[in-house]
């Protein structure tokens, strides 16, 4: 690790100003991605601004037909949240299957989506559930948020404060893990919310999460799992690495979509 300056922010404003006054500041959430990156010397921020002391970034609330999760809420907290488990059980299940228990105890939803790893789980949930990412100065629909490989719509220094998820009628996530890292080789979240069916795919493409219209059309309003399974996804442009060929990934997209549809019931 290169050396850096560390500060603990105690409010959102404090965090934003600390970051902006630093030469090259980075927010530190759970550290489950950032610290391994620093350990490998793949990043050299001048300052880390720790968000863990900002209490209004933590917690889950339900209002009307949506659930809002503070950006510093850990995967474990989302997984065990009664609100999430009752309103969007698919999201609780997804969070409960990210990484391992120790990662879930510290990793946060804000960190996960800010990082936008192409094999991460939350981006699929955000897109399929048509979530809104709330930052310190705007609201960004999930469809516009994830812009590419480790790329998001966030401006430098923009702080995610929360994510709002409309409560779906039905939803489920199916993940086929990479045998080594256990990130998604392919993960598909399917959801039916207020007359719209969405299927968001993570892991399969190098440019990150995407919606599959073929799958969505096949699923229809009833989330028809056998129709999803019958979809033949093109392997063009999908990831091809030592763990899975693009053809295998393409195949898994339909299979995982179909399994998610079955689970969504």
């Amino acid at each position: 690790m290169y050396d850096f300056k560390y500060q603990l922010a105690n409010s959102q404003d404090d965090a934003v100003s600390a970051q902006s006054s630093a030469e090259d500041g980075s927010f530190l959430a759970g550290g489950m991605t950032l610290i391994p990156t620093l350990k490998q010397r793949l990043a050299q921020p001048s300052d880390l601004v720790d968000l863990s002391g900002i209490s209004d970034l933590i917690g889950v609330s339900a209002e009307g037909d949506s659930v809002t999760i503070g950006s510093m809420t850990t995967h474990a907290e989302v997984a065990s949240s009664e609100i999430v488990s009752s309103k969007i059980p698919a999201l609780a299940a997804l969070a409960g299957n990210i990484g391992d228990p120790q990662v879930r105890n510290r990793g946060t939803i804000g960190g996960s989506i800010a990082n936008n790893d192409p094999a991460a789980d939350y981006p699929a949930a955000c897109v399929a559930l048509n979530a809104t990412i709330i930052t310190n100065n705007r609201k960004i629909p999930a469809d516009n948020f994830f812009t590419g490989l480790f790329e998001t719509a966030l401006e430098d220094g923009e702080l995610i404060t929360a994510v709002t998820f409309p409560i779906p009628d039905k939803a489920a996530y199916a993940k086929f893990p990479n045998p080594a890292s256990r990130y998604a080789i392919v993960g598909v979240m399917v959801a039916h919310t207020g007359g719209e069916t969405r299927a968001a795919v993570t892991g399969a493409s190098d440019s990150g999460v995407f919606r599959s219209s073929e799958i969505e059309n096949a699923l229809g309003d009833n989330l028809d799992s056998s129709a999803a399974k019958a979809v033949s996804i093109s392997a063009d442009g999908l990831n091809n690495d030592i763990h899975a060929s693009s053809e295998y990934r393409a195949h898994l997209v339909s299979i995982m979509a179909s399994r998610a549809a079955t689970a969504a019931g």
């Binding site: 690790m1 080594a180 060929s245 295998y248 195949h251 898994l252 299979i255």
Partner: protein
């Protein structure tokens, strides 16, 4: 000997310190004034080192000094030696190119050592690495074996076609003849996948030089401290042994990868004298991936000749073995005498011929990893036997029964040098069939198929030769050292005992099993026995722990030393009791005169041995401390049968091991709890090889599986509970009648798993699959077959 402990599942003596965080692993140790080292490693697989400029880095904060290969060469530091000489078919000795601890003119694999930075803190050392300037002239690299054998890129300029040696074993002519007589010939081509051992403790070393007396002390993560002392002292650094102490207290797993004398040990020891301060180095896991010797990596073509009844007539094997960029300590023995000599397996194949071309490549050196040679052999044989079953239409169980060596055939001389001493292969085989409910398989298959899954069952038998080694035999086969083992039993005045063993405990439980032997032999309770190992300053000598040799070779040495104690102490007892030695009985730690009630306790005699008033000083020296060396008569031959059952999801290619049964003949069981643990651990590594683990290099020699993000390690949820039992025939090669258990799991498991997968998928037309059978590969195989 009274057997109260031997055979009992005694809880481990060593556990308490590990469970309370008080182990003493190398990285846990610190010395006063200690400095920290980081090592600059080549990012290229093959390059000329044009220039290494350390001037700027030397001026970095906290940096004490930086050394390169040229500095070591200037001090005439020697080459890291290889301990096993192999001769090619034509009688020429293997090529042994130099292996400098730090590269001098050329780097030969990603991870090769280029420079060492020594600084006040680890972070400072690491920071300085980034500012060393190296001018590499990148050369074409030889990565896969065919490419290497074409000789386009030479790893070592003086090794034509990168061929280290071209070895053979067996009777070529007899084997050719068996094929001309054959009713059927079955052939197979397969790869034994390259593995990265991944003991959980990364390697580490702390070297210390005392300028006041010229003594060196090296704490290092090794399985054999005396071997390191011998190799490093005599061949690399020219430090006489009385000036060099090697200590490895607790070691966090080895599996072979910590046998070898590694460059860092020599670099640190040498550098500690240069800076006259202790230096510590601990590998990052990413360094371990590119520097710990890898395992396996064979490509093989084999053919089996059968008669019309399915009897094996002959076996012909041609293997290419990757040895990596340099010859590691035992690298040359693994694809030869630990491989070709086992090709009879448990079968009566009368004619066998095997040739092995061993190839240098620009990859990490390849050496022994749990099983070493024997898993490669077993995988080949058991895949081939299954294929023969399929092609002849004989049931896989039946074809094994027909060909198995029978209990009345021992000693059994194989056509590939070894003579099996004792065994009962049908017994373990039939027991395993029962234990796995082989007969009930078809109904289990049916219920899987009802759920859209494919189910398969796979058998593997195996034999291994362990207990290295009968030294004369090992010498005849090319070992440059005999492999005796030593023990010293020191009885203290009050009757407690310290046992010094030359074997090394890094998880095998010697502190318990060896204490069990001492306790039963001398009749002292187990808590009165302390086992000391891992320190050349304490233990007289030893060849360490690998090749399942500790109990088979080290155990009898313990027994022998204990017997010497008994012999001497009986004389002391006789003197005190005023009786003739011949009349003294020793049992359960009590000396008595036969037929009388006159007796002495063990502690009374030991006290008399040290602080006597009344002692036969004219005939006998005081003290009760005996050494013994033991060399076995023969290898020992554990054998057994493993049966694996899998369920496959044909949609995703995921393989679930639903059941795994292992029945092993490991000779006498000293501690069944530890034996089960050893088998379970070996099975996990064998299953890992079959389903998950595989080292992948790209064409430029970059390791693509260089972390746990990409190298799949078996985890708890990948494995089922393991059904492990023993079906032992007592060993005949050593007085403890033990055979060895450390490697059986990793030897027997891989073909059982693959045979099960192929059984499951045969209805889909899949005929072959390579290891690791990852979900993507299984899916691809199904997809291709359709």
């Amino acid at each position: 000997m009274t057997e109260t402990n031997i055979g009992a599942p005694i809880k481990r003596v060593e556990d308490k310190r590990f469970l309370t965080g008080r182990g003493r692993y190398t990285d846990d140790l610190n010395q006063p004034n200690q400095l920290y080292a980081c090592i600059l490693r080549s990012p290229h697989a093959h390059a000329n080192l044009k220039k290494v400029d350390v001037s700027q880095a030397k001026a970095a904060p906290g940096v004490i000094d930086i050394f390169t290969g040229s500095d070591m060469a200037a001090d005439e530091v020697g080459s890291l030696p290889c301990g096993w000489q192999i001769h090619s078919k034509d009688g020429s000795p293997m090529h042994e190119p130099g292996h400098p601890p730090m590269a001098v003119t050329k780097v030969r694999h990603v991870g090769d050592q280029v420079a060492i930075v020594i600084a006040e803190t680890k972070s400072q050392a690491r920071d300085a690495l980034d500012i060393i300037e190296v001018d590499y002239e990148v050369l074409p690299a030889a990565i896969n074996m065919d490419e290497a054998l074409s000789g386009k890129a030479l790893v070592h300029d003086d090794v034509p076609n990168n061929m280290c040696f071209d070895w053979e074993i067996g009777d070529k002519e007899a084997t050719e003849n068996s094929f001309s007589d054959a009713h059927k010939v079955v052939s197979i081509e397969l790869v034994n996948n390259r593995l990265i051992p991944n003991a959980m403790e990364p390697r580490a070393a702390v070297a210390q030089y005392d300028p006041s007396n010229g003594n060196y002390t090296l704490h290092t993560t090794t399985q054999n401290p005396h071997v390191i002392r011998l190799l490093m002292g005599a061949f690399v650094l020219q430090i006489p042994e009385h000036k060099l102490r090697i200590i490895s207290h607790d070691v966090g797993g080895g599996f072979g990868s910590k046998i070898f004398h590694y460059a860092e040990e020599a670099i640190l020891t040498w550098a500690s004298a240069k800076v006259s301060q202790p230096i510590k180095w601990t590998a990052e896991r990413s360094e371990s991936f590119v520097t710990d010797a890898h395992g396996r990596d064979h490509e093989t073509k084999a053919e089996l000749a059968l008669d019309k009844d399915g009897k094996f007539l002959g076996l012909r094997v041609s293997t290419k073995a990757n040895i990596g960029a340099y010859l590691s300590t035992f690298g040359s023995s693994v694809p030869t005498y630990l491989y070709g000599t086992l090709l009879a397996g448990v079968y009566k194949t009368p004619a066998i011929y095997c040739e092995v071309k061993t190839v240098f490549t620009n990859t990490v050196p390849v050496d022994a990893y749990r099983g070493a040679g024997r898993p490669e052999c077993t995988y080949l044989l058991e895949r081939l036997v299954n294929k023969a079953a399929k092609e002849t239409g004989i049931d896989p169980v039946e074809i094994r029964r027909i060909n198995m060596i029978q209990p009345d055939q021992f000693p059994y001389q194989t056509p590939v040098a070894l003579q099996y001493d004792v065994g009962d292969y049908p017994r373990a085989f039939e027991t395993a069939l029962k234990a796995s409910d082989y007969e009930g398989f078809s109904s289990r298959r049916k219920s899987s198929e009802d759920n859209g899954k494919k189910r398969g069952i796979g058998i593997s038998t195996y034999i291994e030769a362990c207990g290295i080694a009968p030294s004369a035999v090992a010498g005849a086969l090319g070992a440059r050292a005999g492999l005796y083992e030593s023990a010293q039993v020191r009885v203290h005045p009050t009757g407690s005992v310290t046992l010094y063993t030359g074997t090394h405990n890094h998880g095998q439980g010697h502190e318990t099993t060896f204490a069990q032997i001492v306790s039963d032999t001398l009749g002292v309770s187990i808590d009165q026995v302390e086992v000391s190992h891992g320190d050349t300053g304490e233990v007289q000598f030893g060849m360490g722990t690998y090749g399942s040799r500790s109990l088979a070779v080290g155990g009898p040495a313990v027994l022998k030393a204990c017997n010497k104690i008994i012999e001497k102490s009986k004389k002391i007892a006789a003197h005190i009791l005023e009786a003739s030695v011949d009349d003294i009985d020793f049992k359960d730690g009590v000396y008595s005169i036969s037929g009388t009630d006159r007796e002495l306790a063990f502690g009374e005699v030991s006290l008399a041995a040290y602080v006597p008033h009344n002692y036969p000083i004219e005939e006998l020296e005081p003290g009760l401390d005996e050494n013994a060396f033991y060399d076995p008569l023969n290898f020992s031959f554990p054998a057994g049968c493993h049966i694996c059952e899998v369920e496959i999801d044909p949609e995703t290619g995921e393989v679930e091991i639903t059941d795994f049964t292992a029945v092993d003949d490991i000779g006498r069981v000293i501690n069944p709890m530890i034996v089960e643990g050893q088998v379970q651990g070996g099975l996990a590594q064998g299953i890992g090889q079959a389903l998950m683990e595989g080292c992948v290099y790209d064409n430029e020699g970059q390791l693509l599986t260089g972390s746990y993000m990409d190298y799949t390690m078996p985890r708890a949820d990948n494995l089922p509970n393991l059904n492990v039992s023993t079906e032992s025939v007592l060993g005949a090669s050593n007085p403890l009648e033990v055979k060895g258990v450390g490697e059986v799991g990793s030897i027997g498991a891989p073909p059982a798993v693959i045979n099960a997968i192929l059984d499951a998928l045969s209805s889909l037309g899949v005929e072959d699959i390579s290891m690791p059978a990852s979900p993507s590969k299984v899916w691809q195989a199904i997809h291709n077959a359709q």
